[in-house]
Point group: C2
Amino acid sequence: MRRAEAYIAVDWGTTNRRAWRIAPGGAVEDEMEDGKGILSVPSGGFPAAVAEIRGRLGDLPMLMGGMIGSNRGWIEAPYVRCPAGLPELAAGLQWAEPQRTAIVPGVAFDEGDAADVMRGEEVQILGAFAEGWISPEATICHPGTHNKWAKLEDGRIAAFRTVMTGELFNLLKGNSILADLLGGEVGTSGAFEAGVRHGLDQDDLTAELFSVRARTLLGKARREDGASYVSGLLIGSDLRVGLRTAGPGEIVVMARPDLTELFSAALAIAGRETRSVDGEQAFLAGIRHLAELIR
Amino acid sequence: MRRAEAYIAVDWGTTNRRAWRIAPGGAVEDEMEDGKGILSVPSGGFPAAVAEIRGRLGDLPMLMGGMIGSNRGWIEAPYVRCPAGLPELAAGLQWAEPQRTAIVPGVAFDEGDAADVMRGEEVQILGAFAEGWISPEATICHPGTHNKWAKLEDGRIAAFRTVMTGELFNLLKGNSILADLLGGEVGTSGAFEAGVRHGLDQDDLTAELFSVRARTLLGKARREDGASYVSGLLIGSDLRVGLRTAGPGEIVVMARPDLTELFSAALAIAGRETRSVDGEQAFLAGIRHLAELIR
């Protein structure tokens, strides 16, 4: 990748993908988004799926992050171990085409019995740090399908832990006996706050979930509060685990704006200060800094 | 229902149903089982579905327990409140046809903020007590799709709490990112024991679930241990909640034999003595004693 050349940044996840054309100076010139996540690409279909992006945004070099580098993606990019900063990610790039198309490695935490992995969030977290948006010792809460609690040390990801909050909510909403209570909008209303407080204070999540249904059947809770209460309950339980290892001071919440709002509201209920960082902007920052490192 | 007449006992659940023809003396003469749970019966289809059972087992009086009495079943049989014994269930029978076809009510626990409901387990629990298999002050662990922890006082169900353990395992196995780790057999092996111990000792279930995947990806855990570990983890978490309100002494484990074995093994790891009761036999005992009460 040459310094004077535009390139394409791709955030390729499990169920969708986004791509941006970045001008040599770093400005976004064009972008696309579609539902072609890695699980929808047939075996052997990745070269065509990549060509499709170039067809839309230009025949340019490409830097890709996310699940595209997993064992279900195009080419597996082995995990970089913690502590991991942008230089470690740059050194671990998996080149699909020399100097032209690269996949960013994920990060693994592996210490004694503890193990964890991330793919995609590392670009955002380290991008936000490189941009000066968060401190070199920040504690980050990164909600999504899987929430990542990450700790920076000296600007590198030193440790992290995943909580399956988003996926559990989706499973309950899609296929469980609670499904008909979870169809409504999730807001940061009184029901959400009650759920967060229960999750923070008590460790009986798998029982409390059923109590939501029972209270509704017995007329002690309103059906329309179900989604907000259960969302709050899951997020409160998540915070109870995540805050245990978080240092003092503000928590950086980094995600899509709707998730950032929910988790920031829950952290405020837990008495913690937060700083919000937009996940998309952080991803673009991370890719820009990686591009600088390899030019 | 006349004393000298045979009758049909039906355990009609969400996804399947079982029925038995009971001779006047109490012996099982014939039985059937099929997948016609209440969710598979179309609106207005219950009279035909009931007639089908009589076509198979005889044109006889019927006593039905389980979800057939729920708001998605045939005729709603309002919950009886705790404390509930067999006389309270008999008084709450919902007669679909006078003196001929009755639905057993479920039981509700409703105290302050706590609320819970059961339909079907009450017949088994109170049947086991009426038969003299368990003490009038027993603590019962009744695993299934939803595990019910129930406390008898003076032979009546005084309080209970539901934990969604079985349903969560099924959701994770069917649709989650852990699905490909959970296809194997669940045994009470070393992995099961490790999962139970984690669940008993630590309250980070929604994080530990993801760690199972990460440890497997990083080669620290064996893929074939996934199902047993996760089953143990969920059951251990369940026990951590359930044992908190259980009295001292033995725990009665009442369910299908395979679930009874798993939960008894987990309770042994938790250092508790158990007594196993076969759920089917307990159901038949409960229906027999109810039939006596209304003759």
